[in-house]
């Protein structure tokens, strides 16, 4: 990120205390890359003037006059993306205060991809973005109503890198919004003394958007030097807290999407649900849907595959002349969880401390043996075999990102049921099983670990597995279907122990409840894995949301209808149970052709009610469908 050559600097009129500020940042810049943008930008602007870059600054006099003498200047620095990467790097390294020129620069920056083939992102996705941009570049602006592209994806999958590389490939100019540095309290006090009012980041963002919308002719600012087409890139939406802020942000983004004349790319990082606080939990999604409604095109990036990360890592290793065993690369790639930035940082960290690399990894076992072992299904054999793993782990610097999985990813793992093609470990199980009970080792972590990574609750996991598992069982294997069904029936029994009607479950037995929950989830996952002994060949499946939930809902509704309608239909002297109503009276009444007028009415009401309900639930399910996720083959 360090040498993103395009920055927009929002700086208040603080040049007189710039020195002081710079000092502060210089001292802190050793700490890491987090807090450098402000100081860097001032340095950068100097540098930019010396080098032949174009500097555009727009004086925002209107704002200044509005806000009681506050002078708000907006400097927008454009760089040529097509400019040679390395020359920029050198220029950058020359800047004092950034002591990375001695080859200790962050590899993440150093090996930032600068050409299309170098991108680790899946080719199709790159192609999609590229085609989108190319189309916008080539044709006249009137053709496309939607000039906005939203790229979503988890952190570190190369969203920004892709856009940058494609932009440089197409030779377009990027105009980028980067979040300004947060204002420290001391700074705030200081500027408050100077009569400068605090401006929230959201305000600043709004002003920026206003600018883009009002002055779409930003490229003219480059003084006709190159007349390159321009793309606006919004990396990093401001953090919003609370509904009001969120609505403001989405409103302003909507306006942008609707009116922008220039192709705009918005990058949104997807956080897993559990990373976010509750209050903001779905603001991102809301913004995304509102953007899509406004006509933005969406491209979703998935976490990178282990293989592509491995490729990149080995390339870096070659360039850095680190002789790293492929085992470690494999390990780093796996631990990164599809986050290439993290993987590269881990690699650098790992290479910094070569003394940690054992001469030969773990008693000369080959990689396949290790993986084969770690994925062993059998818990008992795990107990003995894991010691090796522990030995290995003890030596390892911990470079694993604490991985979280989405529910769908975990379900995909269970349902696809990837196994080794042969028992490669060569290690005999302590128990000799009959052939029909034996299964090949799993190509994944322990199901329990996956469950905990996906924060899987037993009930929804079971419902989802139940709904989808039959698709994954091969057509011949009805026996397997039974095994799976019987395990799921066991799970339901286990879970019903938790139900409030069970008298012996007192509030004091929470522990028991927890154990039952995890046991049930484990039985469900393992039951599905074990039962499906010959998984049908993997192909693309979409995961359905359980029909059970829908069915239960309409059952409840129908039951209430019946209870409410039982007096109307036949005015008897006594109450009649739901069962009798459903199994005997209703069918007869239907056969009798709704003799009594009352009955007709009641029936029609209930039928219409049912229809409405069905429509509702249909709509719901179609909403659910958008939640559906591809199952990654991995």
């Amino acid at each position: 990120m360090g040498k993103r050559r395009v920055t927009i600097v929002l700086s208040s009129d603080e040049n007189d205390n710039d020195d002081e500020r710079d000092g502060m940042h210089h001292s802190s810049s050793k700490l890491g890359s987090g807090s450098r943008s402000k100081s860097r930008s001032s340095n950068r602007s100097k540098k930019n003037k010396t080098s032949k870059d174009t500097t555009v600054s727009i004086e925002e006099s209107g704002m200044g006059s509005l806000k009681s003498g506050e002078l708000f200047s907006m400097q927008i620095n454009f760089d040529m993306l097509s400019e040679d990467f390395s020359s920029c790097l050198h220029g950058y390294n020359r800047v004092p205060g950034f002591g990375w020129s001695d080859g200790k620069e962050l590899w993440v920056d150093k090996y930032e991809p600068c050409s299309l083939p170098e991108l680790a992102v899946h080719k199709k996705k790159v192609e999609e973005v590229k085609i989108w941009l190319e189309e916008r570049m080539q044709t006249s602006k009137e053709v496309y109503r939607n000039q906005t592209l939203v790229i979503t994806g988890p952190a570190g999958v190369g969203k920004s890198a892709t856009v940058l590389v494609i932009a440089s490939h197409l030779g377009v100019e990027l105009c980028e919004w980067k979040t300004p540095t947060p204002t420290l309290w001391k700074e705030h006090l200081h500027s408050a003394n100077l009569g400068i009012r605090y401006m929230s980041k959201l305000d600043e963002f709004e002003t920026f958007i206003e600018h883009i919308r009002k002055y779409p002719v930003l490229p003219s600012a480059s003084m006709g030097r190159s007349r390159k087409p321009i793309i606006i890139l919004i990396d990093d939406l401001p953090v919003t807290n609370g509904r009001v802020a969120c609505e403001r942000l989405s409103k302003c983004l909507n306006a942008l999407v609707r009116t922008t004349q220039v192709p705009t790319v918005i990058l949104m990082t997807e956080y897993s649900k559990y990373d976010r606080g509750d209050s903001t939990s779905n603001s991102g999604d809301e913004i995304l849907t509102s953007l899509e409604k406004a006509g933005a095109h969406r491209v979703a990036f998935n976490p990178l595959t282990v293989n592509s990360i491995k490729k990149t890592l080995s390339r870096i290793c070659k360039d850095e002349k680190c002789d790293l065993n492929s085992y470690w690369i494999d390990h780093i790639a796996k631990a990164s969880g599809g986050d290439i930035r993290h993987a590269i940082t881990s690699l650098q960290y790992f290479c910094l401390r070569p003394e940690l690399i054992p001469s030969s990894p773990v008693s000369s076992m080959t990689t396949t043996q290790l993986t084969g072992k770690s994925d062993k299904l059998n818990t008992f054999s795990n107990l003995s075999l894991d010691e090796d793993e522990f030995a290995a782990n003890g030596l390892l610097p911990s470079f694993g990102r604490d991985e979280t999985l989405t529910l769908f990813h975990a379900l995909g793992k269970f349902l696809h049921n990837k196994r080794e093609t042969a028992n490669a470990s060569g290690v005999q199980d302590p128990f000799i099983l009959k052939e029909r009970f034996a299964r090949l080792p799993l190509k994944m972590d322990d199901p329990e670990k996956i469950l905990s990574q996906a924060h899987g609750q037993a009930r929804p996991i079971t419902d989802f597995l139940y709904e989808n598992v039959l698709d994954f069982i091969s057509d011949e294997a009805i026996e397997d279907a039974w095994v799976v069904a019987s395990y799921l029936s066991d799970v339901d029994y286990l879970l019903s122990v938790m139900h409030p009607t069970r008298s012996w479950m007192n509030s004091g037995q929470h522990d028991l409840g927890n154990i039952i929950q995890s046991v049930a989830a484990s039985v469900a996952a393992r039951g599905v894995l074990y039962g499906n002994s010959q998984p049908s060949p993997s192909r693309w499946h979409s995961i359905r949301s359980p029909k059970l939930w829908q069915a239960e809902q309409s059952l409840r509704y129908n039951k209430n209808e019946l209870i409410a309608g039982r007096y109307k239909v036949h005015n008897s002297q006594s109450l009649c149970g739901v069962i009798e109503m459903a199994t005997e009276y209703q069918p007869t009444l239907k056969c009798l052709g709704f003799r009594a007028a009352k009955a007709v009415e009641a029936q029609r009401e209930s039928i219409q009610g049912c229809r409405a309900e069905e429509n509702d639930s249909d709509r719901m399910s179609s909403d659910d469908a958008s939640e559906e996720d591809e199952i990654e083959d991995c």
Partner: protein, 354 residues
């Protein structure tokens, strides 16, 4: 009005199916003191009819003036307030309700509402009983807590209140409740009794009822009198005059179940299993209780099955029926049974035909 309601005997004297019980009850009630009563027996055997007749015997025609009430009760349960909507059917002398409609909150109904009702005792006038009667339906569906509360209520308010409980199976009513009641077992009527009842109705309606046809309706009713009468009425609408070989219609859900059964017999594969699941959902959504679905499905499957498999299939049906009662989501267990059946049947087919 349906014939079932139209020809329901209103007094104990007019009852023709369980005459012995009726006469006993009459004696019991006329001796002024009436214990708590628990009626149990299969569905369609005449429990409700007996109860209404007993009430009439006790209080006279006034019990026939019933009004339905839908009342929302606010119950203070420690930390929170629970709102429950309960439907009751009441006259001056009795209140009837289905406490199990409240689901797992049924014990609040039993604790609070019944208590509330039992407290208000009717004014004793000459020749009238000094107590109210509470008729509780489907007691066997009450949770254990609710049944315990019921026991306390019975003891506490026995002076002002009599309970008449009604359920299908006494085995799911706790011993404590059973021992406090006079248990009245109402058997399912025999086919002969059903035929008599049908002939009685036929005469009243002025219909010619061939005896063979009545026998067929009775046979198909599975000794369920209500069912028989409902079917009889349906037949009357479909075709009259009756003929001996007239089709006796099945209930629509029964036809659906037999379709499912033939689906299962035709193909045994996960794909078919999935289709079957969809159809079973359809049944469950329409409030057909899962136990009945499973039972009916089993009997439909058994019809078409080779006798050497019957034992095993029944075993698994029983196994999963038990599971279903222990568990929450019936569909899981029904499907497990279907899958097991498919697996057994496929194995059998392969062994037999290669």
């Amino acid at each position: 009005m349906l014939w079932v309601d139209k020809y329901r005997p209103k007094t104990l004297d007019k009852i023709i199916v369980h005459e012995d019980i009726a006469s006993n009850l009459k004696k019991l009630v006329s001796e002024q003191d009436c214990p708590h009563l628990l009626f149990y027996g299969p569905t369609g055997s005449g429990k409700k009819t007996l109860i209404m007749a007993v009430l009439k015997q006790m209080f006279g025609v006034a019990v026939e003036k019933v009004k339905m009430e839908n009342k929302t009760w606010k119950i203070d349960a420690g930390t929170r307030t629970i709102e429950l909507e309960v439907t009751t059917l009441s006259s001056t002398f009795h209140v009837e309700m289905n406490p199990s409609d409240a689901g797992f909150q049924d014990r609040y109904i039993v604790q609070e509402i019944i208590k509330e009702m039992a407290k208000s005792r009717p004014i004793i006038t000459k020749g009238k009983k000094g107590f109210k009667v509470l008729v509780l339906n489907e007691v066997d569906k009450l949770s254990k807590e609710a049944q315990h509360s019921l026991r306390r209520t019975m003891e506490k308010y026995s002076a002002s209140c009599r309970l008449i409980l009604c359920c299908n199976s006494s085995s799911r009513v706790t011993e404590a409740v059973r021992s406090r009641c006079l248990n009245v077992r109402v058997n399912a009527p025999t086919e002969e009794q059903i035929i008599t009842a049908l002939e009685f109705i036929g005469k009243k309606e002025g219909l010619q009822l061939p005896s063979g046809f009545a026998a067929r309706i009775a046979a198909q009713s599975n000794r369920n009198l209500r069912r028989a009468i409902l079917t009889f009425e349906t037949c009357r609408v479909q075709q009259y005059p009756f003929t001996n070989n007239q089709v006796v219609p099945l209930m629509d859900w029964e036809q659906y179940v037999s379709e499912i059964a033939s689906d299962i017999m035709k193909e045994q594969s996960p794909k078919r299993l999935f289709q079957v699941r969809g159809k079973i959902y359809e049944l469950l959504i329409n409030c057909i209780p899962p136990e009945i679905v499973l039972k009916k499905l089993l009997s439909e499957l058994l019809k078409k099955l080779d006798s050497e498999l019957k034992h095993e299939v029944c075993h698994w049906a029983a196994y999963y029926e038990h599971r279903m009662r222990l568990g929450q989501k019936a569909i899981f267990h029904i499907e497990a049974f279907v899958a097991k059946f498919m697996s057994i049947y496929k194995g059998f087919l392969i062994a037999t035909f290669g």
